[in-house]
């Protein structure tokens, strides 16, 4: 154990006596080149943490409103023990989202009707096309057989 401690002290002293390694000349220039390239970009193309404070705050509020709206739409307003600040927000979100929800429901109904109609019509057209195809094949076979009999005097097998 004593030998281990001696080794630890020996290596610790040796390592700490090593001169600090200097950064290469290229490090500063490459960092500053990348920084200047980044600084030339518009603020919205930078990482969120580098946005101006006002935009960061605005985007955070927008995110909160979106989250509240989603919660309102998914009927989570009856969650127990919500903080008093959240309840008015949820109520406001529900008030804002009611017309949106109605419009979404109407659009959903309309799209369902269109889809059903499309299926019915599509199936009808498919039936007609199929029937016509069968009739045309049968007619072609009959005409071909008639021509063969008239032209070559053959009888069918």
């Amino acid at each position: 154990m004593h030998e281990d401690e001696e080794l630890e002290r020996f290596i610790d002293a040796r390592l700490k006596a090593l001169p600090g390694r200097r950064a290469p000349e290229t490090l500063r220039s490459s960092v500053m080149q990348a920084v200047r390239a980044g600084a030339a970009r518009p603020w919205y193309a930078r990482p969120w943490a580098a946005w101006p404070a006002a935009w960061r705050a605005s985007s955070a509020v927008a995110l909160l409103v979106a989250a509240v709206s989603v919660m309102s739409m998914t009927s989570m307003t009856s969650m127990p023990a919500l903080p008093s600040v959240v309840e008015p927000l949820l109520a406001w979100g529900a008030w804002v989202m009611t017309p949106v929800r109605d419009v979404a429901a109407a659009v959903g109904t309309f799209s369902t009707v269109v889809e059903v109609m499309g299926r019915v019509i599509g199936q009808s057209i498919l039936g007609v096309v199929l029937g016509l195809s069968v009739a045309m094949v049968a007619a072609s076979a009959l005409i071909g057989e008639a021509i063969r009999r008239v032209a070559f005097g053959e009888t069918g097998v």
Binding site: D4, E8, L18, G20, R21, R22, L27, S30, V31, M32
Partner: protein, 177 residues
């Protein structure tokens, strides 16, 4: 003075510290430079908070250490580096260390500069699973427990690796005597 100018002064002030920390952990100049660049770009993103803070050196060291560990984990599967299962890999790295040691100049009269150069070369040539815990212990002042938690290995493994690293470095320094 613009933000960019102030940041350039910041880079000049701390670049040696960041680079040296990365180099000790990674043992390769090119990798250390890549990591150091990433560290400073992260610092620029938070320059409002980091720039004038007295905690800036500590923040830079922590970020450098974490990025170096990520770098090692990404480029050499971590389980082979730091787990007890990586025997074959360890053997290969130990052989590389031995060949580095053998290549060091052997002179009759060795001065302090030669000894330091030998120690630096030996430190860089240590297998990563020995070099990283050794550097974290001696330079970053972390405890064995902290190192074990940071690397996700057992306390016994950390102690063994550090002990072997110290013994190898002592051989590198004293082989001239």
């Amino acid at each position: 003075m613009s933000d960019v100018d102030r940041f350039e002064a910041f880079v000049l002030r701390f670049q040696d510290m960041v680079y040296a920390t990365a180099f000790r952990l990674l043992g390769r100049p090119a990798d250390a430079e890549d990591v150091a660049q990433t560290v400073f770009l992260r610092a620029f993103e938070r320059f409002d908070q980091v720039g004038e803070s007295p905690a800036a050196p500590g923040w830079l060291k922590t970020v450098t250490t974490n990025l170096c560990l990520n770098h090692l984990a990404r480029h050499r599967a971590r389980w082979r580096l730091f787990s007890e299962m990586g025997r074959a890999d360890e053997d290969g790295q130990v052989e590389a260390f031995e060949s580095t040691l053998a290549a060091l100049p052997l002179t009759d009269t060795i001065d302090e500069t030669d000894a330091q150069a030998a120690l630096e070369a030996a430190l860089a040539a240590l297998p990563a699973h020995q070099r990283v815990p050794l550097v974290l212990f001696h330079y970053e002042e972390k405890s064995y427990q902290d190192i074990a938690a940071l690397l996700g290995v057992s306390l016994g493994k950390v102690k063994t690796d550090i002990h072997r690293a110290r013994a190898a470095l002592r051989r590198a320094v004293t082989r001239h005597a």
